[in-house]
Symmetry: C3
Subunit: 195 residues, 3 copies
């Protein structure tokens, strides 16, 4: 069922489903696992031991570091960086130009139905264009992080963060606004290369 | 001393000690490491890159996801789910029907004797039947989480949580009670399959 | 470019750059990745799946557990323990006799320049001799943790911790002083073996 694909040297041995589609000029590192129906665009880097579950979609110029976990059907745009150990929940939506630091934790349900009878409302977070999430943040399910919003280190985000606001703390509250000069400019973004 | 055991396809290459015992109908994924004297029951799933240290015991119908770390002699019951990146301390006891989310952190000593002369009181947490621990929680050593208790996301648990109570926050305090309808029923639990 | 080096049994297959230097009596475990120009001293243990980026320097008698990530050019002294999942930032300096628990998170910039024009001030934390950092702590960039200081579990360290002080909380504040008897003694330390 599965095929092993070997890269150009010993560090690049990874496992990719034969139903996955990987674009051109990608660098897939040692120990990466890519399940069925994953789609990866062009110019992407997938760091060592990162795991992409079934149906994950990733755009172009995306840089994902080591030990990350992407649950089923997470959708990731283009021009994005995601650092080591980050956990992206099922059905998360991440728009273009988003930055996600190390060890960011996202989940997809507020309730735990394990061995119980009730039905879950499962929904991942929605991270909008140009948002920046610092390392160690924890994002509850179904939360929207607004355009160009900034989430501080180790923040616990329990509700929606409006566009261009700065939130941190446990639980996080509004702490300020992102200055105009730090909002993503489409021209700037398009002119940049990923590395 | 150690033997390499290859699964049925390329994704299932893992390392298991020859003194480990693995039950029937288990699915052991790529990169898993199972040390000496580990015992795993029937119908278990061990996700990619998870590490079971010497003497870990796991019951039946246990679903452990990717990148978990079980320290020496942790004891895990049956009908349990443990999500990715969770760290189970040495001598932790986890009873039946427990749910542990992603990136839960448990430790086994409040003091750090490293390079110091004093003796440590080492003891893992004790998670009782039907308890649910949400993702990102941190559990101090020697703490008991009561039956059917519920620990919230990213909570820091520094003392015992009584049966059926809901605790969250940093540090966590009591926030409510688990409704009767969400307490585990033995009949319900036994009638369920793990998947 | 890279060479695969196989250990003495199946668990010890790791990848090491040919420009890395590894001392005598080291135990490098399965899945470890060691990049260019890494230097490791004598009597070191590198646990399964740990990743040492380019230019990391590690002294003697250092015990690093599983799933750790050391960013480029982190400098680590001698007689040190670092537990599983810890993330050591670029240019971090860790002096001798330091203890770092599990899942400690260090970063190297307070600002996120991703796709923005401004210049970053990049600097890792500096952890001084004999300091102890408990599991789950998050350390901001350019912070100094003083000699023999003690950082509590899951603390968020946003500013310098003076020598011999105890800090914890989110954000952490001073909570006490480390007793004289728990300060590292050079004679004691030198007389100890790593295991």
């Amino acid at each position: 069922m599965k095929q092993a694909v070997d890269g150009t040297d010993e560090r690049q041995t990874y496992y990719v489903s034969e139903t996955a589609k990987i674009g051109s000029n990608c660098d897939i590192r040692h120990g990466v696992i890519i399940e069925d129906d994953v789609v990866i665009g062009d110019n992407c880097f997938i760091g060592e031991y990162t795991f992409l579950r079934r149906g994950v979609h990733i755009g172009n110029n995306v840089d994902i570091r080591q030990f990350c976990y992407f649950a089923e059907e997470a959708k990731v745009g283009s021009y994005i960086k995601i650092f080591q150990y980050s956990n992206i929940a099922k059905w998360t939506v991440i728009e273009d130009f988003v930055y996600i630091g190390a060890r960011v934790l996202m989940v997809n349900t507020r309730r735990i139905a394990f061995m119980r009878e009730y039905k879950l409302d499962i929904k991942g977070p929605h991270i909008k264009r140009g948002a920046r999430i610092a390392s160690g943040a924890v994002i509850l399910p179904a939360v929207t992080i607004g355009e160009n919003a900034l989430v501080g280190m180790a923040a616990l985000i329990t509700k929606d963060v409006p566009d261009r606001q700065i939130w941190f703390g446990v639980p996080a509250i509004k702490r300020g606004n992102v200055p105009e000069a730090e909002c993503i400019s489409e021209n700037l973004a398009k002119s940049k290369n990923r590395k």
